[in-house]
């Protein structure tokens, strides 16, 4: 493309939106190759990077006589990964089409699969699960789908890969597709109104149905993977209709004008900001307008209701804002509001609670034991907590809860925690952000678990969480 037409394209192009997705699958299913293929075919790989990869591929004799480029080398960035031919850690990659900018997390599939899949899926709008067409749905596939259901990933796309190795057979594909849909039904995935489930035949190595529809799978009439990724609504988009505005306060912006002239940004009239006070944060859910009624939730206090007097962002005043915008809110009443408080649409939040029932994805080699003292980070607040009991561990292949009194690395279980301060906890099923928390080791500060808030057993227990 000449730079002239490119300049014209850039002029007329609509602003692109951002879409985050992750890959999941067992070792050798072709995740890295698929990612490399997407990057390569969408021309996100620049010549010097491709040269380096081609050199290394040749050095290692990739593709035998025929030669070729090992596209997996594009994502395996650490020395140990390239040497061992495996992916150790989540790698983030970027590419863009005319419509969208993509952030993609390539998640390794070996022993640490739960840890990596949970990490990649927690921020993803979609997850692409790979299946080797020769192997079909494995126990690992069931586990991955189960984790994605638990994390409420909006779009799950199953790529039946290496379709070239089964002679592009429709019957092999249909059989795997039926198995996937069966697992989906068992899980409620794709039929719960929260997520959808799509199955696509691909060859990551050759590129069939990755960027363009393939002529070698005439029996498949659906879209290629990239077409799907370009058109699916992002999770924030799906949730922007929710009336449940949520805004965890990060910090208070209070330059104090003439009282502390040095705290006001250079070039501003210090006198004008004498009484300025705003609450900075990122909208985690829903939207807010000037004049909206909101509740300020402070642990240990009754909710206080006021109205939104202004929405500021770096010198401009907004009429409305929505997730995931970072803004500063001014309130009509002079409440004492601090970091860790939450501002929410009035009347939409249940009472804060110090009893936390949750599903925990255990991510640390240090096991969880009943009675353990931990920290819970929820929104912008971190509180001490004690683990009251572990009520069971999920068998990810049968989706049943088994008895267990401790959780080990990569286990997903149910537990009850007692918090040192009541928090505005919400069911993760309906609130991806305010229903999520971290469990942190108070001794070394490491992240121990990803937590998903469940309803109290006495409340309406949601069946989907009883899996």
């Amino acid at each position: 493309m000449s730079t002239d037409t490119l300049a014209a394209d850039l002029e007329t192009a609509l602003p692109t939106t951002l879409f985050r997705f992750a890959t999941a699958g067992s070792v050798d299913d072709g995740k890295s190759t698929l990612v490399g293929r997407l990057l390569h075919d969408s021309k996100a790989i620049l010549a010097d990077t491709l040269d380096a990869v081609a050199r290394t591929s040749a050095d290692r004799g990739f593709g035998g006589e025929k030669g070729g480029i090992d596209l997996a080398l594009l994502t395996d960035g650490l020395r140990a990964e390239r040497e061992q031919g495996i992916t150790i850690d989540v790698a983030y990659r970027y590419f863009a089409t005319d419509r969208r900018s993509f952030i993609l997390a390539d998640c390794p599939g070996h022993v640490q699969y739960t840890k990596n899949t949970v990490t990649g899926a927690s921020t993803a709008d979609a997850v692409v699960v790979l299946i080797d067409a020769r192997k079909g749905v494995l126990e690992q596939t069931r586990r991955h789908l189960s984790v994605l259901q638990l994390l409420r990933v909006a779009h799950v796309i199953v790529a039946v890969n290496k379709i070239d190795l089964v002679e592009f057979s429709e019957s092999v594909f249909r059989e795997i597709e039926a198995d996937v849909q069966q697992v989906g039904r068992e899980l409620g995935l794709g039929s719960d109104g929260i997520s959808d489930l799509l199955v696509i035949p691909v060859s990551a190595l050759d590129g069939d149905n990755v960027v363009d529809r393939s002529e070698r799978t005439p029996w498949y009439t659906g879209p290629a993977l990239l077409e799907v990724l370009e058109t699916l609504p992002a999770a924030d988009e799906l949730e922007s209709h929710l009336e449940s505005f949520r805004f965890p306060v990060q910090l208070v912006i209070r330059p104090q004008g003439a009282l502390a002239p040095d705290a006001v940004a250079a070039g501003l009239d210090v006198e004008a900001y004498r009484d300025y006070r705003a609450y900075a944060g990122q909208i985690t859910e829903g939207s807010v307008k000037v004049g909206d009624q909101v509740s300020v939730l402070t642990p240990g206090q009754d909710p206080r209701t006021t109205t939104v007097a202004g929405i500021d962002f770096a010198g401009s005043s907004l009429e409305e804002a929505a997730a995931p915008q970072s803004v500063a809110l001014r309130l009509a009443d002079e409440f004492d509001v601090a970091r860790g408080d939450t501002i929410a649409a009035a009347g939409t939040v249940r009472e804060a609670s110090a009893d936390l029932y949750a599903a925990l994805c255990w991510l640390s080699p240090k096991p969880l034991r009943e009675g353990a003292k931990v920290l819970v980070k929820h929104g912008t607040r971190t509180v001490q907590a004690v683990v009251r009991n572990v009520s069971g561990k999920l068998d990810l292949s049968t989706f049943k809860l088994e008895g267990a009194s401790s959780l080990e690395l990569n286990d997903i279980g149910h537990a009850q925690l007692r918090l040192a301060a009541a928090l505005p906890l919400e069911n993760y099923l309906h609130h991806r952000r305010t229903g999520a928390f971290l469990v942190i080791d108070p001794l070394d500060g490491n992240t121990l678990a990803a937590g998903l808030v469940k309803d109290h057993p006495g409340d309406h227990e949601d069946e989907r969480y009883s899996i």
Binding site: L18, L78, R79, S244, L251, R254, G286, A322, R350
Partner: protein, 314 residues
């Protein structure tokens, strides 16, 4: 509880009609991270070299705290081999925003014998020691960097909040999982955290943002005439610390810089991009990565960046 189960079905008329653009989403994410670090750490600082990524970082920080002032100092690790116009830009920017500037000097460490000049004359890898020294002496517990994951394979594996031990080392095989937008910055005494709020930005995002926000940059990012000579397949500027060898012919070319680092290892590219919108077009059409095109220090080996990062580099 009942309110929760019904709200899914209610559609609010306040539904925001347009989706945020990718730049707005990236900006909001970065500002959220900057505010988290300021709220949770005692003494943060921002690495500021006058390079485009650090200029964008500082711009984001001014937006994050408006109308308040940026609540942390900026830190520059001075190789002593800087482009004079970049140092000038650095000082003007710090002055304009009324910030405090802390400088760690590679030259001082060489003069005192604590560091030795490398055979290839490159000083970029020498920045690690003065950087860690400045962090320790000023008791910074969080340091903002403008690193982006699209810059390099090793950076692609870096967390947004990245824990460093007492020796400033990065352990890529033992990183904390980063979940949702909940960042865990807990650390023990002696450890510190590197924060990378623009991890998810690409080079093109940076330029589009510079264009959109009308952000001033040092002039050498735009096409200008300069005396250069060819070395290692790059155009190197003639300067005090960057002298041509007898066989290297000096010519005048219209060039610009894609990265601005140590004068002894940063090369220019031939370019007629005189304005920011010219640069956006040029970057969009480029077939080389910015580091591959212009950084001798990253050409040393496939794992050059990973090795430097493990030792405590940016």
């Amino acid at each position: 509880m009942s309110t929760f189960l019904t709200e899914e079905t209610q559609v609010t008329d306040a539904a925001v009609s347009t989706r945020l653009s990718s730049l707005d989403t990236l900006e909001s994410e970065a500002i959220h991270i900057i505010r988290e670090v300021v709220a949770e750490f005692e003494k943060p600082a921002l690495l500021f070299s006058g390079g485009k990524d650090s200029v964008v970082m500082l711009h984001l920080a001014t937006k994050a705290f408006w109308p308040g002032k940026v609540p942390f100092p900026v830190l520059h690790v001075d190789t002593g081999h800087n482009f004079p116009e970049v140092i000038d830009f650095r000082d003007r920017t710090v002055e304009r925003l009324g910030l405090k500037l802390v400088v760690g000097s590679v030259q001082e460490f060489i003069d005192s014998g604590e560091l030795a000049e490398r055979a290839d004359g490159t000083r970029n890898p020498l920045q690690t020691v003065p950087l860690l020294d400045a962090i320790q002496r000023n008791k910074f517990d969080a340091v903002f960097g403008g690193g982006r994951r699209d810059e390099d394979k090793a950076r692609a594996k870096e967390r947004i909040l990245s824990l460093r031990d007492e020796f400033g080392q990065w352990d890529p095989r033992n990183q904390r999982p980063e979940l949702w937008n909940l960042y865990n910055g807990r650390h023990t005494v002696g450890q510190h955290v590197r924060a990378f709020p623009i991890s998810n930005w690409t080079e093109l995002d940076i330029w589009r943002y510079i264009e959109r926000e009308n952000i001033e940059l040092p002039g050498l990012y735009y096409a200008h005439e300069r005396e250069v000579f060819a070395r290692d397949g790059m155009w190197r500027a003639v300067g005090e610390v960057s002298q041509p060898l007898p066989h290297e012919e000096v010519i005048t070319k219209t060039v610009r810089y894609r990265t601005v680092g140590d004068m002894s290892c940063t090369g220019a590219v031939e370019s007629d991009a005189y304005t920011v919108s010219d640069v956006v077009v040029e970057v969009a059409a480029s077939t080389l990565t910015e580091r591959g095109a212009t950084r001798a220090d990253d050409r040393i080996s496939e794992a050059a960046m990973e090795d430097r990062k493990k030792d405590g580099y940016f």
